[in-house]
Symmetry: C2
């Protein structure tokens, strides 16, 4: 494949994996999801010895459309800077897979799905899920696809949480792990921001106790407010100041409550466009999964214990200086625990003023660090 | 008065000053408020030469009940650590005055007041106001009370903005100025958080386009969400982590959307109790005034120009290390501008992990710094 270095088209595929009712997803809550569906998308070709598979785990409001063109928005996939011909993850060399998380709203089973037991949308009867449940579903998909071992599991933000959970739960099934701008547990401040978003959604009368799908309405106003509050946390104060400062939308103040400032209309746009692509109950369930996330908790608070079987996994942990949602000390805690567990961990804090969103943006240091990490891991793995 | 050092009772007074229709408050917007009312509270006695008056300016959701007992909550006034017998501002020595800002909801004219022109509550027909308008109203009150010169004007957060505006607009009428945990302009991030709160209120169907008073309903859910979002910004990440961490309310997770974590129930309580004491439209108007605040704007962006007549005022500027709403660089900008204007400015950044709320809390360094500042100013002023 492309041994002459010529540019070749990405081989793309996508689909929805439907598991039989006899193979339900078992959940941390004790419940299960029967008739599980997982929507996925892939780039590149699995090689003959099935050793070149990379699983990408997505963040809270993203989806399986990590590269290529997004089918709804028509925009490039959310990590096109990382995934594509000539990019650090290259479909010419890797089989790159991304799946919509369970609880999501882009094709995988979630609260807007039809509950096979009732024939009605789940709504709030959907079980509360965890990051480990998301990972368990991904492991079922990967196994069903005949992939015994992943070359790498990669993710940022909530995707990074899934990466850590993969390393804890299936260390023998991954060779390398990349965790960007993430944490091993959700902090009080992060829980607090999520709770504001959930309360905004649940305060919207069109939420209807979670049963809005059947009622034919949508809690768009509440969901937009939730998105606006969250969006502020994805940017740094410096980025907001540099991007918008106190710039007005037009000459002079309106002396009213229209959007006077650029930053106001930007936020309103973020809220309004989000509701077109996301489901309010999915927002509740996925934020809850993140809040529940605490990898050290099942091990008496000792995070290193979570990784004690992962000492053969090669880790890369990255953080950004201006990320106040998952600040660098959270990444350092992960690295310290990995070291204590005897695992090999590279760590880099990257200078950036773009805040948490930096992991999705053109950050040359991040991209070159990941390129170097994947190349070294490929050499160690004997991948071409 | 108390020259023997004995503890004497505070002399307290309170009232509402009603200005005749012939003396309207002129507004930055070009409009005016006729029949202005200002609710005030005072502690101590004005001395014979009327030189011991201290005006305290309150923050966004506070009121004139700076000391003594709050008439609604029954709790101590919000700055009882600063104001009281033996405290840095002592009713035995100072005449301490605090007035509810215009636009507020504790007795001064605001959007819930009756518009004398219509006999109906103002609602959104209340004019948009500015920090300078609030200060102009205070200046009318102080003048009406026969106080020509204030010994000091003191405030934190939005109160600090009013202090700076006082120094800019009435430099000859104050001797000293204390600005704590504040800024000379509202940043993009702060505007963004306010906009989230306003959108949450306006998304509540019970807001009724601002006309909820007449409709006999209240947008409590929206206002509670606004308060929850704002409340996070008043605390530091460290304070939230230390105070709550990931502590659960009961043993084990609920696997639902009840408040599992202490921080969730704390925030819900903050939201629920806030709506009992605050008016949603007041929240819109006062946040708008803060967003519009930019002291350098009328001076071509040169903040020092705003203070060029204030060189005889003695300033004390304080910030807190963990305040991310009004971080130290904002205070440094003020101090630099004061220095450039030739004013005398003391500045101290106080080590605290309590975030923005530190200015209301028992921060011994703040309290002793203020005591020292007031004593030195009193000596310079020839006050006993």
């Amino acid at each position: 494949m492309a041994e002459d270095g010529a540019h070749i088209a990405m081989v793309e595929d996508s689909g929805t994996w439907r598991f039989p009712a006899s193979a339900p997803l078992r959940l941390d809550s004790g419940g299960e999801i029967a008739g599980l569906e997982i929507a996925w998308r892939s780039f590149g070709t699995l090689n003959a010895d099935r050793s070149n598979a990379v699983l990408i785990c997505h963040a809270l409001t993203l989806d399986q459309h990590v590269a290529g063109t997004h089918p709804v928005s028509g925009k490039p996939g959310w990590w096109s800077l990382l995934v594509g011909p000539g990019k650090p993850l290259d479909p010419d060399r890797h089989f790159i897979l991304c799946a919509n998380v369970i609880g999501g709203c882009m094709g995988s089973t979630g609260p807007a799905s039809i509950n096979p037991a009732t024939g009605q949308p789940y709504g709030l009867s959907f079980p509360v899920i965890t990051i480990a449940d998301m990972v368990r579903a991904q492991a079922m998909l990967v196994e069903a696809m005949g992939i015994e071992t992943l070359f790498a599991v990669v993710g940022g933000s909530m995707g990074g949480m899934q990466v850590l959970q993969w390393a804890a739960d299936y260390p023998e099934r991954l060779f390398a792990a990349v965790c960007v701008a993430s944490a091993a547990r959700h902090s009080a401040q992060n829980i607090a921001f999520h709770e504001v978003g959930r309360q905004a959604i649940m305060a919207d009368p069109d939420w209807r106790g979670g049963d809005y799908v059947r009622a034919g309405v949508r809690p768009d106003k509440g969901l937009a407010v939730a998105r606006m509050a969250a969006h502020i946390t994805y940017l740094s104060e410096g980025a907001l100041q540099r991007k918008f400062g106190r710039e007005l939308r037009r000459d002079g103040l309106s002396w009213g409550f229209d959007a006077d400032f650029q930053v106001e209309s930007y936020l309103r746009y973020q809220g309004a466009s989000f509701v077109d692509r996301f489901d309010a109950n999915s927002y509740l369930y996925i934020t809850r999964a993140m809040d529940y996330f605490d990898m050290a908790a099942p091990h008496g608070g000792v995070l290193a214990e979570a990784f004690r079987k992962a000492r053969d996994v090669r880790f890369c942990v990255l953080s950004f200086t201006s990320d106040w949602l998952y600040p660098t000390p959270e990444s350092r805690d992960i690295v310290r625990a990995l070291n204590a567990a005897g695992a090999r961990a590279s760590f880099m804090e990257i200078e950036s003023d773009k805040g948490h969103d930096a992991f999705l943006l053109d950050e040359p240091v991040m991209l070159s660090a990941l390129r170097g990490f994947f190349e070294a891991a490929a050499a160690a793995r004997g991948l071409k």
